[in-house]
Symmetry: C2
């Protein structure tokens, strides 16, 4: 981001007809967007939403309330317009792409769905590495291609969503490995497990971490504990930053992808906005590690990029205020003492 | 609100393609709007924003960082389109009215500004009752007329904003009197006082409460401690509820107006949504008394209705999701166990 743009944007905010700082996070949002988009008058009219979907071998361990077939069914629902992220994308006038990185079964071609199926889901991370190095490279590249599509379309903001039954287990394992945290602190109910089921899920994460060992290299952790869609998100975030596109990070899964990517490339961090604090208990710990203070806390826990989509109007209104308000001098309003 | 609509809306939310409850407060928002608007498919396309402005005699006590002339200057800024609420109204496609209930000096006629000037500001509440009973009735009536204009325009949501240099002092005194709270707990920096200035402001609120005594009748408290614009807001909120229009309450001042109005008429409460948690320290105490859990917490403290305006897209997206998502049956997605 451009420090010169950030400095002049901060000066402009202090000249506008309001007590200094009284628009709170809307001021810092507008200032950051000026730096990221390298402009005096920021706008986020063109939003790219890309949902990465994949299945998880760890579902063999019975860690989800939903059957694995739901991943493919939801891909069809995204394409048909019936899912939350489909409705939100339409309401926001955003572009929506879905990238299938590894549903358990092959899917029919559908408009808006890019078939980039690496395998029939990852391997079971509780027993063996979730993916091979070649598979990791393929998933990261699919993410980078999504960033390139966003750049080609002139996107001013990128949102990465995810769909994958079992992926809160994967994300908890990844976060534990990167943060050195205990599985009991980061494993939660996901789509709706009982307390007893969360205890079982926690034990599965513990087995995965014992198998993985203490390697904290970000991409080694990612290959070992996996999630094709999480690797896709990490690749997309890195690809957006390198192309100058700010990213609005969704909930727990997307934040874990951001954590992996920031550990790999710390220069990514200033390109990231954080949209919301998920109900999933591990999310706050991951946000703390990223020094992130998200915009919303609405008890959401859906994924798909839905929490980030809901925050888009806040960025748009922050831009409108920054660009459209009068200064004290322009309006003839007396400044405070 | 219609309990039958609320019940069927809750059933619909549980049928949609997402883990039950995973859209958090967006689900409860949509359900409440179905009951308030008495419909299966809620929408908040037509939003009325009315900003009530007035001056405060308590400014004689040096409790604000800004001179009293700013109230009138900001009324002109609202009309000219340069204030935060003007920019937000335009961005949201909302109707914006400004009602001048008592600037210290008379103002020229301006488009969008309704002249309903009761007096040259309230009296100094630290020394005498802020307004007479006749003045209270006039301010409440101006609020009711604003609700009637909203109804005439088919508004699906009402936002009441306020402008009045000195009105955090007034609001703190009102909240203390109604809640039996200590001035030190509810008096804050407003537009930007130093710690020492807040101590002085707190002493002014203490003098006002000592003069007022222990009468907790809501409208008696309102007349004694005042704020023409706060009475206007209270009248508007009551008028909206009686006409079936839901209200989105802004920050500290508007919430104190809601507290007065709910104490007067408890049936008002189910018509109110709360938009944001202000930085002003007294706000959380007032929200607790109203059992309100606001949508946003963005460190805003501007007033004008700006925090409520920023929350409007959340209501709109909640409606879009409620109306537009597919059910599990429609999408052929398997339900959880």
């Amino acid at each position: 981001p451009s420090q010169a743009r950030i400095n002049s944007a901060r000066q402009r905010q202090d000249s506008l007809t309001k007590p200094p700082g009284s628009l709170g996070q809307l001021e810092s949002l507008a200032i950051a967007l000026c730096g990221q988009l390298d402009t005096e008058k920021p706008a986020v009219d063109r939003v790219q939403i890309t949902v990465f979907a994949a299945d998880h071998g760890v579902c063999d361990e019975q860690i989800s309330a939903f059957p694995q077939s739901v991943t493919g069914q939801m891909i069809a629902n995204f394409a048909a317009g019936g899912a939350a992220i489909s409705v939100l994308s339409a309401a926001l006038g955003a572009e929506l792409d879905v990238v299938n990185l590894g549903s358990i079964g092959p899917l029919a071609e559908m408009p808006g769905v890019i078939n980039h199926r690496i395998a029939a889901g990852t391997a079971n991370l509780a027993r063996e590495p979730a993916m091979s190095e070649a598979q990791l490279v393929a998933a990261l590249a699919a993410g980078d291609q999504a960033a390139q599509r966003a750049a080609d379309r002139g996107a001013q903001l990128f949102i990465g969503g995810e769909m994958g039954i079992g992926n809160t287990t994967t994300a908890a394992a990844l976060a534990c490995a990167l943060l050195g945290a205990a599985p009991t602190d980061l494993t939660g109910p996901g789509t709706g497990l009982s307390k007893q089921q969360v205890t079982h899920k926690t034990a599965v994460v513990e087995r995965a971490l014992a198998r993985h060992g203490d390697n904290q290299d970000p991409f080694a952790v990612l290959a070992s504990l996996g999630g094709f869609e999480i690797a896709g998100l990490a690749g997309a975030f890195l690809g957006c930053a390198s192309r100058g596109i700010p990213v609005l990070v969704d909930g727990f899964i997307a934040s874990v992808a951001a954590l992996v990517a920031c550990r790999q490339q710390p220069a990514l961090r200033p390109w990231l906005h954080f949209a919301h604090r998920s109900c999933e208990p591990g999310h706050s710990r991951v946000l703390d590690a990223l020094e992130a203070n998200p915009l919303l806390d609405l008890s959401m826990r859906l994924g798909e990029g839905s929490g980030a989509a809901v925050a888009v109007p806040l960025l748009r209104l922050a831009c409108a205020l920054h660009n459209g308000m009068a200064s004290f001098a322009e309006a003839g309003v007396s400044e405070g003492s």
